[in-house]
Assembly symmetry: C2
Homo-oligomer: 160 residues x 2
């Protein structure tokens, strides 16, 4: 196994905005991000899963300070695009397993998910890259999640 | 603007598997990835958006060579988890804008999405990190997408 886990990162300054049921056709992603960028709102995660019935949900996260403005932009877009609705959450935290060579390691992801599940922590969103497996969970679980993952991946041992 | 775009990467060896309508409660993500990892199937992307009505869709990509085995695992899981169904696609390609400091740049993402939209390329999935904005599109658009993004981000100029 070539993966090397270097640590746990988290970001509790984010808010999530989802435009639900947007048309799944060319131009929609641009139609959403364009106005968000024009409003000078920075975006961290963008998550969109495969659609069904020609529609899908489009989610992105922003800094909590930009939430109100982003929410206004998104509500207007939802009407303009004929979306099903808008769902948002400010009680979120992004927790990431950081490492190298983590891509292709179903075992590492499942270990991370098992550890969180064992503490009753629901995983609201998942997004991965070669260097990070990120989950979005409810912010009240931040400390428990970080402690749990440190233990599961034996990251707390270097200091003992 | 502190972002630096270094290039376009793509992976045409992937297949996508989605378990649609899985229960959105602790333990489900682990219940899916566990058996996939146990079957020695490597996983590249994992994408899960926020749920609604206590359910969500769970998507991951594997190497095309592992598609048949992954498909068997997923179909069995869908039954076991009481999921709505399974959707899969082997006609996909992952195209990524690679750089540094790309996080927080709604303008970069919207430029990427606009460029693809202008060529009529539908974006099936989106997943982002600080160093990559990745989209999954239909594989027939690979060459067009890469050429379009090189032009949009002026990455073809170094060689002229
Ligand atoms: C859907 C799945 O991610 C579930 N929410 C879990 O925590 O395992
Ligand atoms: C939903 C959105 O991503 C759409 N498929 C697009 O290509 O813009």
């Amino acid at each position: 196994e070539d993966a090397l886990i270097s640590g746990i990162a988290f970001n509790r300054d984010e808010a999530q905005l989802t435009i639900a049921g947007v048309p799944d056709r060319p131009g929609i992603a641009a139609a959403i991000l364009g106005p968000v960028g024009d409003a000078n709102i920075e975006v961290d995660m963008i998550v969109q899963n495969v659609g069904a019935d020609a529609s899908t949900d489009f989610t992105f996260t922003v800094h909590k300070n930009d939430y109100d403005r982003a929410s206004d932009v998104v509500k207007a877009l939802a009407v303009e695009l004929g979306a099903k609705g808008v769902r948002t959450a400010t009680d979120i935290v992004k927790v990431s397993l950081v490492g190298v060579g983590m891509r292709s390691h179903a075992g590492i992801a499942s270990k991370m998910f098992k550890a969180l599940a064992a503490e009753g922590i629901n995983i609201r969103m998942i997004s991965t890259s070669e260097i990070k497996i990120s989950v979005v969970i409810e912010d009240k679980y931040l400390e428990l999640a970080v402690r749990t993952l440190h233990r599961a991946f034996e990251l707390d041992q270097a200091k003992s």
